[in-house]
C-alpha cells in the first residue's frame, strides 16, 4: 500500500499526514469534543448527531459504565450509582464536599487519600478521577470513530479558577483515559480563541463564563494573534446548578409540601429536575408555570432575578475585581463573550449588559465555544496548522506561597502572574543548630494559613548545624504552562545539596496511573475486539482511498479488465466494512493489496523516469 502513496519529487504528498488532535471541554453538566474536520474546527457528534454529552456516569455491576443521556435516565431510579456534576468533586476532600453541597445522594468511602474520596457504586468504589476518565473515554471513542484512528494528543479545558489540585486531577483523568495531554487550557481563554483567531481584532475582551458548576471571568488583551490574559477571577463553586437549587427551594417552600426531601433521594432529585426545567423554560418565555404536588405555581424572570440576586451580585463583584486586577475600567472593555449554558438565562444577560453598558457577543453557541477554542489550539499545538504569530499567554489564578512563623502566608507568586514562572525566595533557620526545616506550600489570597488551601508539606533535612539565621534556604516555585506547580528547596550557605522537589500531593504518580490503566484494561477485553475491527476498517478504507487516488492520477497505466477487477474488489470490501465483518475485511484488503501491487510498481517506474528527466511537462508550462 505504501507504494501507492508515492509523490512527485518536490510535490506535495497525495495524502498529507495529519495528526489527530482534539480539544475536550470536560464540563460539569455537559462535555464536548472538537477537532478540525476538513476546513474548520467542529464539535464532533455522536451517532445520534448529538454533540453535547451529559457529564453523567451510571455504574452497573460487572459491566461497562453508561455515560451521557443513557446514564441520565437512571438518575431517578438509581441516584446512588449515577454520578452527575463530578467536576464539582475534583480535587476536594470529603469535608470540603460536604460543606459545599446541601444534599449529595452518594455514599462516600475513604479513597486513595484524604483529597480523593471515592463513591461506593454497584461497580465498586469510583473516585472523581476515575469517573472523569470514564466521561473522557466516551469522548475519545467518539473522536476516534470520527477521525478514523487513535488520537495523537488532546487539549483539555479547565476553569481558569481551578486550583492546583483540580488541575492535577483533571490531567490524571485524561492520562487514565489514555490521552496525551498537550495542554490544560483555561476555558475563558479557549472561548476567546474561538471568537478571535481568524479576525485581526485588537482590544480588551471580557469572557464571562457561567457553567453548570463553576464561574470564571477573564480579561484578555488581543493583539495581532497574541492572546494575553491580563487577569482572571472566579468561583469554583458557583454555577447554573445554584440557580436550580434556589428555584427548587422556592418551589418546595411555595408548594408547602409534606415530603422530607432530605431523607428521600428520589423526591429530591425529581424536585431538582423540575426546578431545572423551569429555569430552562424561563429562558424561552417571561412567565412559566410549575406543577408541584398537585399545586400550580407561577414565576416570571423578575421574581427569578430577585430570588437569585445574591448569585448575580457575586458574579458582578468578581467582574469588578478582575477589572481592578488588570488595571482596566469598564470603558476599556471592547467586547464581552458569554460562555456556558447558564448564560442563556435572560436574568444573566441583562445583568451583564447593565454592568458593562454593552451587549455581549453570542454568535457562537455558548455550549460549544470552549470546545471549539480547545480544538483550534490542539490543532496548532500538534503542528497541523502553522501559526507563527499565534500565542496564548496565561496567568496563574491564585497566589502561591509558603507558611512562615505565626501561621502567616508569605506569597511567592502573586495571583495573575504570567505563566510559566519560576520564583525563588530565601529563608533561614530560627534556632541554633537547626538541621531540618518544614515547608508548607499553600494557595490562596488570605493572610492566614488556615484560610488558604494546603497544597503540600515537606521537610528539608540535612541542613548543616549553624547559629540561628546563618543558614540560607532557597525555596523555588515553578508553575508550568498548564498552571501546575512544583516546589524545590535547597540549602545554599555551605553548598550542601540538601534538596527536595515536590509535586503537590494530589497528583497521581506514574505507578498508580499504570496500575489503574492495566486494571481497566482487564475489564475491557471486549474493547480490544472492537478496536481490532476498527483498525481493520480503517486500514481498508485508507487502502481504498489510496487506490482510487492512484487510479485517478495514472489511469492510463491500467487496462479495462484490470480497472474492472479492482473496482469489484473495492465494492466487496466496502460492503464488508459496513457490515463489520472483520475476517472478510482482512481477506479482501489482502487481495486488493496484491492486485494493486503490480499497478503500484508501474507507477513507480513511470514517476522515477519522470523524475530522472527533470521537471514534468506540466510544471514547465506553468512556469
Amino acid at each position: 500500500m505504501a507504494l501507492l502513496q508515492i509523490s512527485e519529487p518536490g510535490g506535495k504528498p497525495i495524502q498529507p499526514v495529519r495528526k489527530r488532535a482534539v480539544g475536550i471541554d470536560l464540563g460539569t453538566t455537559n462535555s464536548l469534543v472538537a477537532a478540525r474536520c476538513g476546513g474548520s474546527v467542529e464539535c464532533l457528534p455522536d451517532d445520534q448527531g448529538e454533540c453535547l454529552l451529559s457529564s453523567i456516569v451510571y455504574y452497573r455491576k460487572g459491566k461497562e459504565p453508561l455515560v451521557g443521556s443513557a446514564a441520565k435516565s437512571e438518575m431517578i431510579a438509581n441516584p446512588g450509582d449515577t454520578i452527575a456534576s463530578v467536576k464539582r468533586l475534583l480535587g476536594k476532600s470529603l469535608s470540603e464536599i460536604k460543606a459545599e453541597r446541601q444534599f449529595i445522594p452518594y455514599d462516600f468511602n475513604e479513597g486513595r487519600d484524604d483529597q480523593t474520596p471515592a463513591i461506593r457504586t454497584a461497580d465498586g468504589d469510583k473516585d472523581p478521577v476515575i469517573i472523569s476518565s470514564d466521561i473522557l473515554k466516551c469522548l475519545v471513542r467518539r473522536a476516534e470513530d470520527c477521525m478514523q484512528g487513535a488520537l495523537d494528543g488532546a487539549v483539555i479545558t479547565v476553569p481558569a479558577y481551578f486550583d492546583d489540585a483540580q488541575r492535577q486531577q483533571t490531567r490524571d483523568a485524561a492520562r487514565l483515559a489514555g490521552l496525551k495531554v498537550l495542554r490544560l487550557l483555561n476555558e475563558p481563554t479557549a472561548a476567546a480563541v474561538a471568537y478571535g483567531l481568524d479576525s485581526q481584532d485588537q482590544g480588551n475582551v471580557i469572557v464571562f463564563d457561567l457553567g453548570g458548576g463553576t464561574f470564571d471571568v477573564s480579561l484578555l488583551s488581543l493583539q495581532k494573534g497574541i492572546f494575553e490574559v491580563l487577569a482572571t477571577g472566579g468561583d469554583t463553586n458557583l454555577g447554573g446548578d445554584d440557580f436550580d437549587y434556589l428555584l427548587a427551594d422556592w418551589i418546595r417552600n411555595s408548594a408547602s409540601s409534606e415530603i422530607d426531601y432530605d431523607a428521600d433521594a428520589s423526591a429530591h432529585t425529581s424536585l431538582l429536575h423540575q426546578a431545572n426545567q423551569a429555569k430552562h423554560r424561563l429562558s424561552e418565555s417571561p412567565v412559566v408555570e410549575v406543577e408541584h404536588q398537585g399545586q400550580s405555581l407561577q414565576i416570571d424572570n423578575i421574581r427569578f432575578a430577585q430570588l437569585c440576586e445574591s448569585l448575580l451580585d457575586r458574579t458582578l463583584l468578581i467582574c469588578t475585581r478582575v477589572l481592578r486586577d488588570a488595571g482596566k475600567k469598564i470603558e476599556d472593555i471592547d467586547n464581552i463573550v458569554l460562555v456556558g449554558g447558564a448564560t442563556r438565562m435572560p436574568i444573566i444577560r441583562s445583568a451583564v449588559a447593565e454592568f458593562f453598558g454593552k451587549e455581549s457577543m453570542t454568535e457562537i453557541d455558548p455550549d460549544k465555544v470552549v470546545a471549539l477554542g480547545a480544538g483550534i489550539q490542539a490543532d496548532i499545538l500538534i503542528g497541523n496548522k502553522p501559526a507563527d504569530s499565534f500565542l496564548l499567554l496565561d496567568v496563574n489564578p491564585l497566589s502561591l506561597g509558603i507558611e512562615t512563623m505565626g501561621e502567616l502566608v508569605e506569597k511567592i507568586i502573586p495571583r495573575n502572574t504570567t505563566i510559566p514562572v519560576i520564583k525563588a525566595q530565601e529563608f533561614t533557620t530560627f534556632k541554633d543548630g537547626q538541621t531540618a526545616m518544614s515547608i508548607h506550600v499553600v494557595q490562596g489570597e488570605r493572610e492566614l494559613v488556615s484560610d488558604c488551601r494546603s497544597l503540600a508539606r515537606f521537610e528539608l533535612k540535612g541542613i548543616p548545624p549553624m547559629v540561628a539565621g546563618a543558614a540560607k534556604i532557597r525555596v523555588e516555585f515553578q508553575v508550568d504552562a498548564d498552571g501546575l506547580l512544583s516546589v524545590s528547596a535547597r540549602e545554599l550557605s555551605k553548598g550542601m545539596s540538601a534538596e527536595i522537589v515536590v509535586k503537590p500531593s494530589f497528583g497521581l504518580n506514574a505507578d498508580t496511573i499504570e496500575q489503574m490503566l492495566s486494571s481497566s484494561q482487564m475489564n475491557a477485553k471486549n474493547d480490544m475486539k472492537i478496536r481490532a475491527l476498527k483498525e481493520a476498517q480503517l486500514e481498508a478504507r485508507q487502502l481504498i482511498d489510496a487506490t482510487i487516488n492512484a487510479i485517478d492520477a495514472d489511469s492510463s497505466l491500467l487496462n479495462e479488465p484490470e480497472k474492472k477487477s479492482i473496482a469489484a474488489i473495492i465494492e466487496k470490501l466496502n460492503l464488508a466494512i459496513t457490515q463489520d465483518e472483520q475476517i472478510k475485511i482482512h481477506a479482501l484488503t489482502e487481495q486488493l493489496n496484491r492486485i494493486s501491487g503490480d499497478f503500484a510498481a508501474r507507477r513507480m517506474d513511470l514517476h522515477v523516469s519522470e523524475a530522472l528527466r527533470g521537471e514534468s511537462i506540466e510544471k514547465l508550462e506553468k512556469s
Binding site: 494528543g153 498537550l182 495542554r183 493583539q223 495581532k224 497574541i226 463583584l317 469588578t320 475585581r321 481592578r324 496548532i380 499545538l381 500538534i382 503542528g383 507563527d388 504569530s389 500565542l391 496564548l392 499567554l393 502572574t417 504570567t418 505563566i419 510559566p420 514562572v421 519560576i422 520564583k423 515553578q478 508550568d480 504552562a481
Partner: protein, 177 residues
C-alpha cells in the same frame, strides 16, 4: 537560545534607562514569547520543553520587571551596584519620613461612611501625583549618575506604592471581597 545571562534591557534590545517606551517593550516581549513559549514545543522532547519553561520564565520575569516603574527603578539601581535591600534610617531625609507619616495618617483618618470612597479617591490621586513627580526626578538623577539621590527617590516610590496597595486593600474590603 539562552536568556539567563542577559540583562533585561539587552534581552529586549532597549536602551538602559528609566524612561522607556512601554509599547516597544510589549511588542519585543511578544516577539520573544513567540520564539520561546512552551506551546511552541508541545510535541518536542522533555528536555526542550523544560528549556522552554525556563527561558519563558526568565522572559516573563524580565517583562514584569521592566513593565513596572517601581521594579524597573530597583533593577536599574541593582545594575549600578546600588544596594537597595538594606535601608538605614539616617539615609532617609527627615522631611520624607514626615511626609509619609502624614499621608498614612490621612489614610487612617478616613471615616467609614458614605464619603469614604471619595476620600479614598482624593488620597489616591494625591499619591499618584507624587509618584509621577518622583519618577520624573528618578529618571533625571539616573541620567546624571546621581545614585544616592536616585536611591532615596526609589525608597520614596516604595513608600508610595505600599500606600497605594493599602488603599486598594481598604477599597477591596469595602467592596466585599
Amino acid at each position: 537560545m539562552q536568556f539567563a545571562s542577559q540583562n533585561y534591557f539587552q534581552l529586549f534590545s532597549i536602551t538602559e534607562k528609566f524612561h522607556i517606551d512601554l509599547g516597544v517593550l510589549a511588542s519585543r516581549y511578544h516577539e520573544l514569547q513567540i520564539e520561546t513559549h512552551p506551546d511552541k514545543f508541545a510535541d518536542s522532547t522533555e528536555q526542550e520543553k523544560l528549556m522552554a519553561v525556563q527561558n519563558t520564565s526568565i522572559l516573563n520575569e524580565a517583562y514584569a520587571t521592566l513593565n513596572s516603574p517601581l521594579k524597573r527603578a530597583g533593577y536599574l539601581l541593582y545594575l549600578h551596584d546600588v544596594e537597595v535591600e538594606q535601608v538605614n534610617q539616617d539615609e532617609l531625609a527627615m522631611d520624607l519620613l514626615m511626609e509619609q507619616l502624614q499621608l498614612r495618617e490621612s489614610l487612617e483618618e478616613i471615616s467609614n461612611d458614605e464619603s469614604a470612597q471619595s476620600q479614598l479617591d482624593d488620597l489616591k490621586s494625591r499619591v499618584r501625583d507624587k509618584v509621577e513627580r518622583c519618577e520624573l526626578s528618578f529618571g533625571i538623577n539616573m541620567e546624571e549618575k546621581k545614585y544616592p539621590g536616585a536611591k532615596e527617590l526609589f525608597h520614596e516610590l516604595q513608600f508610595l506604592h505600599k500606600l497605594l496597595s493599602e488603599i486598594d486593600t481598604i477599597e477591596e474590603r469595602r467592596l466585599g471581597y
